[in-house]
């Protein structure tokens, strides 16, 4: 039988607010356990939540960016369950009245564009962390993360392959960073994903029973977890069994998913509106203001890059995936006096290679946009060749010098002076009469010998175009 995979996603994006969603405590990552948990985060009796307005604005921003309905009136609810890292015994979340309603996102897989529905996005607080190691059989609880604002983004079950799912997650990952509402750091858990997977025979309309795979924190894990889970479900059905609705965990070490809890064991969360918080009202004025504040979104930026900088679809795509990368690129183009294509090659080539090699983000690049742009400018005006430029780039990477300073200091200026080059060529031809004869006899390959020799003599500084031109002229004489 032929099977079709059906995937829906839930993504938790940690909002990049300075303080928590209901308290003034810091959200910074990596502090000593329980040093960033105030009385409210600890759930001490008598304390009350106060909603962080910035979190609300971030949610609205996201909603506007995906063309979603923004609820003029949304409500926080209490989701009740007991767990040591959940201090109040309930999570404050949004349930039947989320702040962001139906929206959509376009993804592209193998050149095909597909629209994925976003069911909703809602605000909620994160829980703390239970630490099971290092406590002699006891469990430690770190509440630094408790109360960190999250935006939970829920998709429609519109994806039909792991490739589509990954494309969707990547698209969202890019978007939230563009909007400046989430730092997108998947290792630190700022952006994590739950996947709902089911299979059905091709042509069948109703969905199969789904399993939810929790807390995937890399694109690769998402892909592998889905692949594994699809295979498992098909196996179960084809060997006569039934898929049960359950929550599963993906074990990256063993590359398998295993059951966490079944639907029967699922909690009854007893949601009800939180009486400590007023409903969130979003006015038309706020929406107008925020619409004006929206940055250029990836899709629009990509199209603009293609039009304005005459970049290929691929280049524009790579350069706009990260907002910092796009900003870097545009700055460098400015400093290069408009050498759009050449800058693109350098950013995607030497620069990216250097950054990858050193495990650096472009925001931490040792060579800033200004110095890279100035380097490219010298290639364009033929002060140096592309090859020499790579040497210059090494110097830029290792020092604070500008390209001009390096070229000057190291004497890397290109030799374009035809008088000087002619002298070298004449001498070369005089020293190698046999090769001259070969060329004149039709062996044009010999040209390479001459070019190579000149480059060697000039330590690569000779202007290759000029050398070619002069050689052609002289040899044909």
């Amino acid at each position: 039988m032929q099977w079709e995979t059906v995937i829906g996603l839930e993504i938790h994006a940690q909002l990049a607010t300075k303080s928590k969603i209901f308290s003034g405590a810091s959200t910074a990552f990596g502090a000593e356990p329980n040093t960033q948990a105030c009385a409210v985060d600890l759930g001490l009796p008598g304390t009350l939540p106060v909603l962080n307005e910035q979190a609300v604005r971030f949610a609205v921003k996201f909603g506007l960016a995906i063309g979603a309905h923004i609820a003029p009136y949304s409500v926080f609810a209490r989701k009740n369950y007991f767990y040591p890292d959940l201090p109040k015994g309930y999570q404050t979340s949004q349930f039947d009245k989320p702040i962001v309603g139906l929206g959509q996102i376009d993804i592209e897989v193998d050149g095909e564009v597909k629209t994925i529905g976003v069911t909703r996005a809602h605000l909620e607080e994160d829980a703390g962390k239970s630490l099971h190691e290092d406590y002699q059989g006891m469990t430690g609880v770190d509440l630094n993360r408790a109360g960190t604002p999250l935006l939970e983004i829920v998709s429609e079950p519109d994806m039909r392959s792991s490739a589509e799912a990954v494309a969707f997650v990547k698209k969202l990952h890019t978007l939230v960073q563009y909007l400046g509402i989430c730092d997108g750091n998947m290792q630190e858990g700022s952006f994590r994903c739950d996947v709902n997977v089911s299979v059905r025979p091709i042509g069948q309309e109703e969905f199969g029973t789904r399993a939810e795979i929790k807390n995937l924190n890399s694109f690769r894990f998402i892909e592998k977890a889905i692949a594994h889970e699809v295979e498992r479900q098909i196996d179960v059905i084809e060997s006569g069994g039934r898929v049960v609705q359950e929550t599963r965990l993906y074990d990256a070490n063993k590359d398998e998913t295993r059951s966490m809890r079944s639907k029967e064991e699922a909690n009854d969360y007893r949601y009800f509106p939180c009486p400590d918080l007023l409903p969130v009202e979003i006015t038309a004025e706020l929406l107008d203001e925020m619409r004006g504040d929206l940055p250029e979104l990836p899709e629009a930026k990509k199209l603009r890059f293609q039009a304005q900088y005459k970049l290929s679809d691929y280049d524009a795509d790579v350069l706009t995936t990260q907002r910092v990368m796009a900003d870097y690129y545009e700055d460098a183009v400015n400093f290069s006096d408009g050498e759009a294509k050449l800058v693109a090659n350098w950013v995607m080539g030497e620069l990216s290679a250097g950054l990858n090699q050193h495990g650096l983000d472009i925001s931490a690049s040792p060579v800033g946009a200004e110095r890279l742009g100035a380097l490219v400018k010298r290639i364009a005006d033929q002060t140096i060749s592309g090859k020499i430029a790579k040497q210059v780039f090494e110097f830029l990477w290792a020092s604070e010098s500008t390209a001009d300073e390096v070229i000057e200091r190291e004497g890397l200026m290109q030799i374009s002076d035809s008088g000087e080059l002619e002298k070298i060529i004449d001498q070369l031809m005089a020293d190698n009469p046999a090769q001259v004869e070969q060329f004149r006899g039709g062996k044009s390959k010999v040209l390479g010998f001459f070019v190579g020799s000149i480059m060697k003599q000039t330590q690569g500084k000779a202007n290759p175009q000029e050398v070619n031109k002069l050689l052609q002229e002289k040899l044909k004489e």
């Binding site: 009385a39 600890l42 759930g43 001490l44 009796p45 008598g46 304390t47 009350l48 939540p49 106060v50 909603l51 209490r78 009740n80 007991f82 040591p84 201090p87 109040k88 015994g89 309930y90 469990t139 609880v141 009854d268 007893r270 949601y271 009800f272 009486p275 400590d276 918080l277 007023l278």
Partner: protein
């Protein structure tokens, strides 16, 4: 001394006839002398109180003082007080010392009031007789065999026995008004959102409201004035200026319309209570007010609606008491589940458990619509009834409670009959209105309270009517036998 008004005590302090240290010591002595049998104070703050009183005396010396500077008071043990245990009447919090102070307490502290101690209460404010307290019941100074009412029974009994001139309380379904009535004193619960709930341990968040106990409406007004106001730490507190609650106390109530809900004056009403209330209404009428019968058609649904909404909220509010971070933890739990189950089983009393179970039940999948949602709809209807009624009247009057103080143990094992003792007060909480209870006579030598209900944020008018009534009567000045004695 013990029967002096705040105005008089304040003048004595300002005129240096007495110091705050002396005044505080005077009431501390009364507590020591009388509270052995009453059990109204759970935790004494004697040492710190005398330090605070000395501070207050300095402020008075330097001329930097207000009406409440140097005035001793008691706080219900539901308000968190930094450095002094806050038990909420529960074994669960028997060891709990909050690292912060409730906003209402801070405001009174800033006004210079001196906290003598924390008063007994029904566990987590759940009860109408003060019998659910982990620290034992409180006796009603008017009759030691009867209860003081609840849940703020300790504060009410203490003020009635003149152990402090004023005390704080909280009112979720009548927990200030009913004990005020049972103990023959004046109590007011302002509009929901008028006093910050920050630092006040939550029972039912959408209903809880702090207020005051005092001998008179005037004293209650002074204390409430200091406690009220917007607090950015409480999202449900209302950002609206506080009226001057003292300015209109002396206004005539001539021409004012008082509504009597016919649903509260049925044939079922105890005849003694009815007569007492009718006499009180006549007094108000004699001061020039118009009396008008009104109807609150849905008010008979308030007890059932309340016993869905309040337990639902409490079931979540009390989840934090899990033995993990603070409060009671059972001995050597064998695993997490055991830790939860035994800590909560051993730490909570029966009434609290009953309400948590009711609350969890009404919020459960499949029951939510039938109970919680329905109760919220009923709540809206009740509120609308009041809004409608206030279009035609200025205030509403009724008995505060269907009976006078009942005997200890009488209703302890009959929760429904206990719940019905709040039948006249609960609707006010569901609607979020201000309400108060004023002493208006005796039945069987036990005090009767007249409930007055005001429109939203009209505490000033409510207190004006109560004060005018107290100008014409002296029920509020009556002191229970035995407690007139100086010690």
């Amino acid at each position: 001394m013990y029967n002096k008004s705040l105005q008089e005590l304040s003048s004595s302090l300002q005129d240096k006839e007495i110091s705050s240290v002396e005044l505080s010591q005077y009431f501390l002595n009364r507590i020591k002398h009388f509270d052995g049998e009453l059990n109204s104070v759970i935790t004494s703050n004697e040492e710190a109180a005398l330090v605070a009183a000395a501070e207050a005396d300095k402020r008075i010396q330097s001329g930097d003082s207000g009406l409440l500077t140097g005035i001793p008071l008691l706080h219900k043990d539901i308000f968190c007080t930094q450095g002094l245990r806050t038990s909420c009447g529960s074994k669960m919090l028997d060891n709990f010392v909050a690292p912060y102070t409730a906003t209402a307490v801070t405001k009174l502290e800033q006004a210079g009031a001196v906290m003598l101690g924390k008063t007994n209460m029904d566990e987590f404010a759940m009860g109408s007789s003060n019998e659910t307290s982990f620290y034992g019941g409180v006796k009603n100074p008017w009759d030691l065999n009867t209860v003081p009412g609840g849940s703020s029974g300790g504060s009410a009994a203490a003020v009635a026995a003149r152990l402090a001139p004023i005390a704080s309380g909280t009112d979720t379904g009548g927990s200030i008004r009913q004990p005020a009535a049972f103990c023959g004193i004046t109590g007011i619960k302002p509009t929901y959102g008028r006093v910050s709930r920050y630092g006040m341990i939550a029972f039912a968040s959408s209903l809880d409201q702090a207020g005051t106990f005092a001998k008179s409406a005037e004293d209650a007004a002074m204390m409430l004035q200091a406690m009220s106001g917007f607090d950015e730490k409480d999202s449900t507190s209302v950002n609206k200026p506080v009226d001057d609650l003292l300015a209109n106390l002396g206004d005539s109530i001539k021409g004012l319309t008082v509504g009597l809900p016919k649903e509260f004056f049925t044939d079922d009403l105890d005849s003694g209570i009815r007569e007492t209330i009718e006499t009180a209404i006549d007094t108000i009428k004699s001061a020039g007010a118009h009396i008008k019968e009104i109807s609150l058609p849905n008010i008979n649904l308030s007890v059932p609606a309340y016993y869905v909404v309040a337990p639902a909220e409490c079931s979540a509010n009390l989840s934090r008491f899990d033995g993990v971070r603070f409060g009671y933890r059972c001995d050597s739990p064998k695993d997490l589940e055991d830790l939860y189950k035994r800590s909560r089983d051993e730490g909570f009393g029966d009434e609290v458990k009953r309400r948590i179970m009711m609350g969890a039940y009404v919020l459960s999948a499949g029951y939510y619509d039938a109970y919680y949602k329905k109760a919220q709809q009923v709540r809206r209807l009740i509120k609308n009834d009041f809004v409608e009624a206030f279009k035609g009247v200025d205030i509403i009057a009724s008995p505060t409670a269907p009976s006078v103080a009942f005997s200890a143990g009488e209703k302890k094992d009959d929760p429904v009959s206990m719940y019905l003792s709040d039948i006249f007060t609960i609707g006010v909480n569901l609607a979020g209105l201000p309400g108060m209870s004023v002493p208006c006579g005796f039945v069987d030598n036990k005090p009767v309270g007249l409930q007055l209900i005001g429109n939203y944020f009209e505490e000033s008018r409510l207190l004006n009517v109560a004060h005018q009534y107290q100008q014409l009567t002296d029920w509020h000045l009556a002191v229970p036998a035995g407690y007139e004695q100086e010690v």
